[in-house]
C-alpha cells in the first residue's frame, strides 16, 4: 500500500466508527545530529522513524491515535481507536467544535535545498566541528562546543474532506559556543546563536555561517567577559541585536497571538494570553514601527511549509500592523470558535503527536535604519545581543531576558564590553517604546519551541533586525 492508501484506510475507519471529520498524517522522518567538544567528536546520532497519526472529531473533542506501523490493519485500528477515544470524551463535553472551511486540494510541495544535508559526508561535517571547537580551545575557551542538526521529513496528509497532500521538508543548521569559567561564574559566547541558526534549507545554510571563521573571536570574547564590568542596573535606552530580538518576538508576540492560548485551551500548562479577542483590530500592541507578519511562505525560513498539518495552504498574514494588533495564529477549530475565517498555523511534532497551533514565521517587517545609525543616535544606553536566558509569565506579559554580551553606548559610540546583561519589562509597554528599527533583517530559526501535553517541539522562524527601546530596566541580578 502507498502512504496515501494507508492514510485513506485510517480516515475511513475513523468515519465508520462515528467521526464527523478525520485526518491522517503519515510521516517518515530522518534526523541526524553531531556534537563536538574541545576538538573531538562527542556524539553522532542518526534516527529514523515512520508512523501515522489519526485525528478524529466527535462532538467537542479530538481523539487521536498513533501507531509506528503502516499496514492496512494497523491504520484501520488506529482510525477506529481515534474515533472511540473522541467519543469517550463526551463524559466531560463542551460545545460542539466546528471547522472553518478549507478547500480540499491534491498537491505536492518541497522546501528549497541546494545541497542535501544528509548527502554531505560525515567526515566533512565532522571536520568542520572539530576545527571550529579546536580553534576556540586554542583561543582560550575552557569549553568549546559545536553541533549541527538535520531533519528530513516526508509527510502525506489525507482528510475526510478530500485533501491529499504530500510534502518533503528538509531543515538544517548548526552553531558553536565558547565558555570560559571564572571564579564563581561562567561566561559564554556563541555564533551565530546558542545551539545555532536553522532554516528549511540544505547544507548551504551551515556553509554560510562560516563557523570556523568566528571561532577565535567568540572564544576571546568569552574570556574577556569574565573581567568585563557588570551591566549597570537601572533604566536606560536598550538596543537589541537581531538574534535577541527574534527571541523577544517569539516569546512576547508569537506565543501571545496563539489562538488556542487566547481561548484557554493551554491554560493549565503553557498558559493563556493577555490578549482579548474583543480588542482584535483595535489594540495598540506597540509603536508604529512595529509591523509583524505571520508568513510561512518565506523561502528557507525555519517556519516555512507549503501546507500546514491540517491541509491549509501557506499564506502571509498580518499579526500587528503599524503597532495595532490585527491577527492571530489559528487552526481550523480555534478559528471557528473565535469567529475568524482561516486557520493555517497548525503543525504536529511528528506522526505521534496531535497537530496544534504553532508559530510559523512570525517576524518584524524591516525598519528604516541601520544598527550603525541606531548606535549613533543614542546618547546613553546598552547594546545587548545573543540570548542566554529567557523567562516570561503565563500570560506573556512580564519578561526577563539575559544576553551573552553587552556594550556600553555613550554619545553615539559603542564603548566597553559589559557582562551579565539582563533586561526586564511588560510586553506591550516594551513594544510601545521601540523608536528605531533596522532594515538588516535575518530570518532567525528557533528549533526548540516547547508546547502541549504530551510535549511537542516546534520549529519556528523569526525575521528580525536590531532595534532601540527607550527607558528599559536593565541589570537585574540576584
Amino acid at each position: 500500500m502507498s502512504e496515501f492508501e494507508v492514510a485513506e484506510a485510517a480516515v475511513q475507519a475513523a468515519l465508520d466508527a462515528g467521526a464527523r471529520y478525520a485526518d491522517v498524517r503519515v510521516m517518515h522522518r530522518r534526523y541526524e545530529s553531531m556534537t563536538a567538544r574541545n576538538g573531538d567528536i562527542e556524539s553522532l546520532d542518526q534516527d529514523e522513524s515512520v508512523g501515522l497519526g489519526v485525528r478524529a472529531l466527535v462532538g467537542s473533542s479530538w481523539g487521536f491515535h498513533a501507531v509506528p506501523e503502516l499496514s492496512d490493519l494497523a491504520a484501520r485500528d488506529a482510525g477506529h481507536r481515534a474515533a472511540r477515544t473522541a467519543a469517550v470524551s463526551a463524559l466531560v463535553s463542551g460545545p460542539p467544535v466546528d471547522l472553518v472551511a478549507s478547500t480540499p486540494v491534491t498537491a505536492s510541495w518541497s522546501s528549497p535545498c541546494e545541497v542535501d544535508p544528509l548527502g554531505v559526508s560525515l567526515a566533512v561535517k565532522g571536520d568542520l566541528l572539530v576545527a571550529a571547537t579546536r580553534t576556540m580551545t586554542e583561543h582560550g575557551a575552557d569549553l568549546a562546543e559545536g553541533l549541527y542538526q538535520i531533519w528530513d521529513t516526508a509527510k502525506w496528509f489525507v482528510s475526510s474532506e478530500g485533501h491529499r497532500i504530500d510534502q518533503r521538508i528538509r531543515e538544517c543548521g548548526g552553531g558553536i559556543s565558547a565558555t570560559s569559567v571564572g571564579a564563581g561564574e561562567t561566561q559564554r559566547r556563541s555564533w551565530p546563536s546558542y545551539r545555532g541558526q536553522y532554516g528549511t534549507t540544505g547544507w548551504e545554510l551551515v556553509d554560510s555561517l562560516e563557523l570556523t571563521a568566528h571561532a577565535a573571536r567568540i572564544a576571546e570574547e568569552s574570556r574577556a567577559l569574565l573581567t568585563a564590568p557588570l551591566c549597570p542596573s537601572g533604566e536606560t535606552d536598550l538596543i537589541l541585536g537581531g538574534e535577541q530580538l527574534a527571541l523577544q518576538i517569539h516569546e512576547s508576540v508569537g506565543h501571545a497571538i496563539e489562538l488556542d492560548r487566547i481561548l484557554g485551551w493551554e491554560a493549565a500548562f503553557a498558559g493563556t494570553s493577555w490578549l482579548d479577542l474583543a480588542q482584535l483590530g483595535s489594540l495598540r500592541y506597540g509603536s508604529e514601527l512595529m509591523s509583524i507578519t505571520i508568513d510561512p511562505t518565506i523561502p528557507g525560513a525555519l517556519g516555512s511549509f507549503g501546507y500546514d498539518d491540517e491541509g491549509s495552504p501557506a499564506v502571509k498574514r498580518d499579526a500587528v500592523r503599524d503597532g495595532r494588533w490585527v491577527g492571530v495564529l489559528a487552526g481550523r477549530d480555534s478559528a471557528a470558535v473565535a469567529g475568524l475565517d482561516h486557520g493555517g498555523s497548525v503543525r504536529a511534532d511528528g506522526w505521534a503527536r496531535l497537530p496544534m497551533v504553532r508559530m510559523t514565521n512570525v517576524g518584524l517587517e524591516p525598519g528604516p535604519h541601520t544598527l550603525e545609525e541606531i548606535v549613533a543616535a543614542t546618547d546613553e544606553g546598552v547594546l545587548m545581543d545573543v540570548n542566554r536566558s529567557w523567562s516570561i509569565d503565563d500570560k506573556r506579559l512580564n519578561f526577563q531576558f539575559g544576553c551573552e554580551i553587552g556594550w556600553e553606548i555613550r554619545n553615539g559610540r559603542r564603548g566597553r564590553m559589559l557582562r551579565n546583561p539582563t533586561y526586564t519589562g511588560i510586553g506591550p509597554l516594551f513594544w510601545r517604546s521601540m523608536d528605531m528599527l533596522s532594515s538588516e533583517t535575518v530570518p532567525w530559526g528557533t528549533p526548540n519551541c516547547g508546547k502541549g501535553q504530551p510535549g511537542q517541539i516546534g520549529h519556528t522562524g523569526h525575521p528580525s533586525a536590531p532595534a532601540r527601546f527607550r527607558n528599559v530596566r536593565v541589570g537585574v541580578r540576584a
Binding site: 556524539s43 473533542s61 481523539g63 512580564n398 526577563q400
Partner: protein, 482 residues
C-alpha cells in the same frame, strides 16, 4: 515498512540480542555494540474550559544502537522491527561509524552485572483506557464546584531491554499515571497534581477540590513590592528547585566542565537538606541507556554534597564509575538525576523511606487548613512564619549563570502574604531572581514538612518528591506590572 516481521514471540530482549549479533556478523568481533529496545504506550486526556478537548494515545517502538568501531563512535535508532528494518539500522550505524572523526574519549561498554528486577508494575495502569481517564477528569471538574478547570490525566507504560557485545543484558518494565490540573476563579488559578504507580491511586475529586479551594483563595490579589521575603514553598515549587539542581548542579558532565556549583565533601546546604536520587522508589526501569544498573544515590547528606551523577562518558573523564544516569539526552545535556527526593523532616535521610510519597500531602494532624493551604503539613510551616509569602508553584524558570545557579522565574497558581502565622491576603504574581544553592545554604532552611509529595515531570520516567519548605529569604525582583 518492508521485510519479514521478527518472530511474533520475540521479546524486546530477543530483538536487542538479535541486533548485537547482527553487528558482530557485519563488522566482526572487534565492533562494540549496545542496544536498547523500548516499546511504549502512552495516553493523555486533556481538558480545558472544563471539557475534554484533546484525547490522545500513541504506541511506539524504538531500537537504539550505538557502536564503537576502530576508534570511532556512532549511534542511531529506528522503529522498523523487521528483519530488513533491523539490518538497515545496523548497516546505517556501522557506515556512520566508519566515516565519522575519531572518538578518543570512548568510555567502553558496561560490563556484565546483575540488574535488579523492576519495582512495582501495575497492568491496570499500563492498559488504562480513555474511559478511566475521562472518569477521573469528570471527578476533578465536578469537585471544582463550578469553577473553570483545565489539566490532564495520563497513563502509560514502557517495556525495555538492553544488550551489549560485552555480554551484559537487562530488561524491565514500568507503568505510571499522573494528573495535573488547575481551577480558575476571577483570573486566579489554583493547582493540584499527583504522580502514582497505580491509576487506582489517582483521586480526581481530591485534586479538583484542592485546586478549587486554592483558586478561590487566590482571587482578588493585591500588588506587593518586590524585595527579599521569607517564604514557604509548597511541593510544586520545591520540585522546581530540585529540577534545576539536578540539571545544573548534580550533572556529572557539568561538574567535569567546572560549570557546576557542586563540591563533594563540602557543607554547601543547610543540615536539613538531604537529597536522594531514587529511581527504584517508584515504578521505573532498573537500568540506564548504557545498561548500568540503577540504584539509590545520596547526592546531599545532611547538608554536605556527597556525589554527582554520571553516565559512562562523564565518569571516564573523571576516572570514576558510572552511576547509571545515561539517558537519551545525556550526550547533549549530560547525565541528570531525574528521580530526586528531598527527604522530609523527621526522617533519617538517605536510607529512610518513611514519609515519602503521600499522594496529596493530607492526612497529617496539625494546624487548620484553609483554602490557600492545601494540607496540614504546609499549615504547620506557615504557622511559624511571622511575615512572608506562601508560594504554590514556580513557572518558566531559567538559569542566568549555571555555576552560581542564579535562576529567574515567576510565581504561579497562588501566592499569599502570611502575617503572624496566618494567610492574610492573596498577592499578585512576582518575578524572582535567586541563586538556588544560596537559598538552601547553611542557616537558610528554617524548616521542612514531614511528608513528601511525588510530582510528575514533563518527561517520561522523571519525577520529583518533596515536602513543603520554609526558607529564610527569597529574592523577588519584580511585580506583575514590571
Amino acid at each position: 515498512m518492508s521485510g519479514t516481521p521478527v518472530p511474533a514471540g520475540d521479546t524486546e530482549l530477543d530483538v536487542a540480542g538479535r541486533v548485537v549479533d547482527l553487528v558482530a556478523r557485519l563488522a566482526g568481533p572487534a565492533a562494540q555494540a549496545e542496544v536498547t529496545v523500548t516499546r511504549a504506550e502512552s495516553a493523555l486526556t486533556r481538558f480545558a474550559n472544563s471539557a475534554i478537548h484533546q484525547n490522545v494515545a500513541a504506541s511506539s517502538v524504538d531500537v537504539r544502537l550505538r557502536v564503537h568501531l576502530a576508534g570511532r563512535t556512532a549511534a542511531g535508532s529506528g522503529n522498523a522491527v523487521t528483519t530488513d528494518g533491523l539490518r538497515t539500522l545496523v548497516e546505517r550505524v556501522l557506515a556512520a561509524a566508519r566515516f565519522t572523526p575519531p572518538d578518543p574519549a570512548w568510555p567502553g561498554l558496561a560490563p556484565a552485572a546483575p540488574v535488579a528486577p523492576s519495582p512495582g508494575w501495575d497492568p491496570a495502569t499500563a492498559h488504562a483506557g480513555p474511559d478511566q481517564r475521562a472518569a477521573l477528569v469528570r471527578a476533578f471538574v465536578d469537585a471544582a464546584g463550578g469553577l473553570v478547570t483545565a489539566g490532564y490525566c495520563r497513563t502509560g507504560y514502557r517495556v525495555a531491554a538492553f544488550a551489549n557485545s560485552a555480554g551484559h543484558f537487562a530488561q524491565g518494565q514500568a507503568a505510571d499515571a499522573a494528573m495535573d490540573g488547575i481551577a480558575r476563579a476571577d483570573g486566579a488559578d489554583g493547582t493540584a497534581r499527583q504522580h502514582v504507580d497505580r491509576v487506582a491511586d489517582l483521586d480526581g475529586t481530591d485534586l479538583g477540590r484542592r485546586a478549587a479551594a486554592k483558586a478561590r483563595a487566590a482571587a482578588q490579589p493585591v500588588e506587593l513590592s518586590p524585595g527579599r521575603y521569607p517564604v514557604v514553598l509548597e511541593p510544586p515549587a520545591v520540585a522546581d528547585l530540585l529540577s534545576n539542581l539536578a540539571w545544573y548542579g548534580f550533572n556529572g558532565r557539568r561538574y567535569a566542565e567546572r560549570q557546576s556549583f557542586a563540591v563533594p565533601g563540602t557543607a554547601q546546604f543547610d543540615r536539613a537538606v538531604t537529597l536522594v536520587d531514587d529511581p527504584l522508589a517508584a515504578s521505573g526501569l532498573p537500568f540506564d541507556l548504557e545498561g548500568t544498573p540503577s540504584r539509590a544515590l545520596t547526592l546531599v547528606d545532611a547538608g554536605t554534597t556527597s556525589a554527582v551523577v554520571h553516565d559512562r562518558r562523564s565518569a571516564a573523564e573523571l576516572g570514576v564509575a558510572s552511576t547509571g544516569h545515561a539517558w537519551a539526552g545525556s550526550a547533549t545535556f549530560g547525565p541528570i538525576p531525574r528521580n530526586l527526593r528531598l527527604a522530609p523532616a523527621g526522617t533519617a535521610g538517605a536510607a529512610d523511606p518513611t514519609g515519602v510519597f503521600v499522594a496529596g500531602g493530607h492526612g497529617v494532624g496539625g494546624p487548620a487548613v484553609d483554602g490557600a493551604i492545601g494540607d496540614p503539613d504546609t499549615a504547620a510551616l506557615v504557622s511559624r512564619m511571622e511575615r512572608g509569602l506562601l508560594v504554590s508553584d514556580l513557572w518558566y524558570t531559567r538559569v542566568l549563570d549555571p555555576l552560581s545557579l542564579v535562576v529567574t522565574g515567576l510565581t504561579r497558581n497562588g501566592l499569599w502574604l502570611v502575617e503572624d502565622g496566618r494567610v492574610t491576603r492573596a498577592v499578585r504574581d512576582l518575578r524572582f531572581t535567586e541563586s538556588y544553592p544560596r537559598a538552601l545554604a547553611p542557616g537558610a532552611v528554617l524548616e521542612l514538612g514531614r511528608r513528601a509529595v511525588r510530582l510528575p515531570d514533563r518527561a517520561d520516567g522523571a519525577w520529583w518528591a518533596a515536602p513543603s519548605l520554609r526558607l529564610a529569604s527569597w529574592n523577588f525582583t519584580g511585580g506583575a506590572s514590571g
